[in-house]
């Protein structure tokens, strides 16, 4: 049961610069757990200290928001794609208060 997790650009630096990773998982939560198990730095960007998905992180199973499915308990099947969709605000991207 391989599920593909798409890692968005802003989070790739915490995931060994990978753009996606595949895991055997039966639910969305399990797949995200494996992802943050492999890339520990990702954890705080996706989950609160209590282990809940952060409110500004949107997770989709294929093209559907898991908030409208069974959230992290949403079952996955072979070949499914999980997408992490972060909020990005860029538009005119002036040098961001210059570092």
């Amino acid at each position: 049961m391989a599920v593909k997790v798409m890692i968005p650009t802003p989070l790739r630096i915490y995931a060994g610069k990978r753009d996606s990773a595949e895991f055997a998982a039966a639910t969305v939560g399990e797949a995200l757990g494996r992802l943050t198990g492999e890339f520990g730095e990702l954890r705080k960007h996706l989950f609160t200290e209590e282990g809940k998905l952060r409110a500004f992180v949107n997770v989709y199973l294929n093209d559907e928001d898991i908030r409208y499915l069974a959230k992290e308990n949403t079952p996955t099947k072979d070949g499914d794609t999980i997408s992490i969709i972060p909020s990005i605000a860029g538009g005119s991207t002036r040098a961001p208060s210059g570092r």
Partner: protein, 394 residues
Amino acid sequence: MATTIQPQTGAKPATSLSNEEILRYSRHLIMPEVGMEGQLKLKNAKVLLIGTGGLGAPLGLYLAAAGVGRLGLVDFDVVDFTNLQRQVTFGSSDVGRPKTEAAQTRLSNLNPDIQIDAFETKLSSENALDLFRDFDVIVDGTDNFPTRYLVNDACILLGKPNVYGSIFRFEGQATVFGMPEGPCYRCLYPEPPPPGLVPSCAEGGVLGVLPGIVGSIQAMETIKLILGRGENLVGRLLLFDALGMKFRELKLRKNPNCPMCGQHRTIHKLIDYYEFCGVRGEEAPAPDVQVPEITPRELKSRLDRREDLFILDVREPHEFQICNLNGHLIPLGELPRRVHELDSSREIVAHCRSGKRSAEAVDFLRKAGFRKILNLKGGILAWSDDVDPSVPKY
């Protein structure tokens, strides 16, 4: 079913085109999907562009060229030399001019038959409703979270469509918020990310063509809304990956519990969006870490005296290629696991581009037990200004 917008009433709508306009818009007029009826809708439409930067450039150019009768431009910035890589409304001679003024000149030259209003102001909770009221469609081409939430909330309060686009490096997003049947920005992102979890500008940057593509998609959606033609992006989030050259789309649902557009709305007026986003705006970033510093001139004279100083460069390798001070390169993010490369008995001067990342590095190393470590004040930028102008600034 195509969704359409209700034009704001006010001045008497135009009912005909001049011969010159007919010639100018002939490639629209010969398309049955636009025709005379559609072109008059464009002429009578009023579109407000929030931001005249990367997204605003193609938006302004295409909407002006298409004959949108009234374009409002909101921006408080001036044209900077580094804008020219992607903000194609502006030319080299515009550097230093207010963006709204430069864009107004350019767009009036492109199409003298339309009205272009420049609002040289920072969009705020105080002026947003007054600015938006006269327009049919609001297009969000801003670059920060507080303004995105402000634009969303003002559009919902006034019942205006919000044509949304945003970009990050090689990725873009676009959709249409604020239609009665569709979701709003808060349905998608109920909360902004806390400032510390937003990618830092060290990972920032944008390929110049990307805002051109995403802004063009916004312009197309705006025109479709005005014409009432086609399937627009209401309820769909279009994702564009420029590196993979792939478009994907996700379903966006109206959140029944949305505090802004849900049945039991809890937000009834505009709020302080900087406080909401946990930032005081780009003009007032969080205070920098306080660490011991050395000025570029002091560093130069100590190096000239051949003092034993170890230069630590904490930028990224691609920045090192632009210019460097012959330092030892350890990117800030790799410092914790590469500390062993440093000799704490030697005096170390850390630097980056502007001095902020290296201040974090100095702070980290002091906590790790390093005592003889200084931050180069102002970084390479200050070095170029005060010591060696041959070092390029970026």
